[in-house]
Subunit: 154 residues, 2 copies
């Protein structure tokens, strides 16, 4: 009989994990609440508009957009429907792949993003970067990059 | 006229922020998916059961439970209703405060937590700690603690 022992967390790891959970949750809740209040969109929608704004013709296949925003296809479809109703994106059939769809940022969507960006960036700075030393910002980047490679292989 | 300039993120900060977002999202999605698959609960429910399991009589006021889990009252109420349907908690009127309610972990809830814990802790270790050096674990703890103080004042 093979008995696999659980590798329980030691007290330092436990404290690290709970602090990380609390910090990341509080950070995202602050940013989400402020974006909703000031720009009428949650952070997930903001991120979709950002990604579309950064590519040529401001258009991406839905599958690429899902990868870039770390969304499931179903969650992205739901968000895209809401963004389309707001007039901020359009969805079109993909010209080179009949099964695919592309999302296109509209002028109104670009304007909504441009209006939201200064307040949101200020929030990221105030809630995250203002609390950290330059060395900690560097540490957080290396830790986060290591986790992204570990978890997503990219 | 006072013109307030946006403190835009420099490229290093931008990279740190995007990597942090991608890492924390991928981490929570992995843990959520595994808990749902193996124990039939999302991470938010697991955390409620953990908090109740750690206090005397395994009972907490709903307001304390909301604070400990970083939940809004409405989100916690929704989760508590689901956990009560599963038979894992009971809600009772608070004996010392007629307006308040307490949540009590049931034996079935404790058993569900005990069954879920080894796999979940293994997931936290595999997805988070296994990717980091001991120095990085220490850095992440200090960064997270600084953010918790900054964002929640506690």
């Amino acid at each position: 009989m093979i008995r696999v022992m659980t590798r329980w967390l030691d007290p330092d790891e436990q404290q690290t994990w709970r602090a990380f959970l609390a910090a990341s949750r509080a950070l995202m809740e602050n940013l989400d609440r402020e974006l909703q209040r000031d720009a009428g969109m949650p952070h997930a929608y903001y991120e979709i508009l950002v990604r579309l704004s950064e590519v040529p013709d401001r258009r991406l296949r839905m599958s690429e957009l899902a990868d870039l925003t770390g969304s499931s296809r179903s969650r992205l479809s739901h968000a895209a429907a809401r963004l389309e109703t707001a007039g901020w994106i359009r969805r079109q059939e993909c010209p080179t792949d009949r099964r695919g769809q592309v999302a296109v940022l509209t002028e109104a969507g670009f304007a909504a993003l441009a209006a939201a960006a200064p307040g949101h960036v200020e929030g990221v700075r105030r809630h995250l970067f203002d609390a950290l030393s330059p060395a900690q910002v560097d540490q957080l980047r290396r830790i986060s990059e290591a986790l992204v490679v570990h978890l997503t292989g990219s």
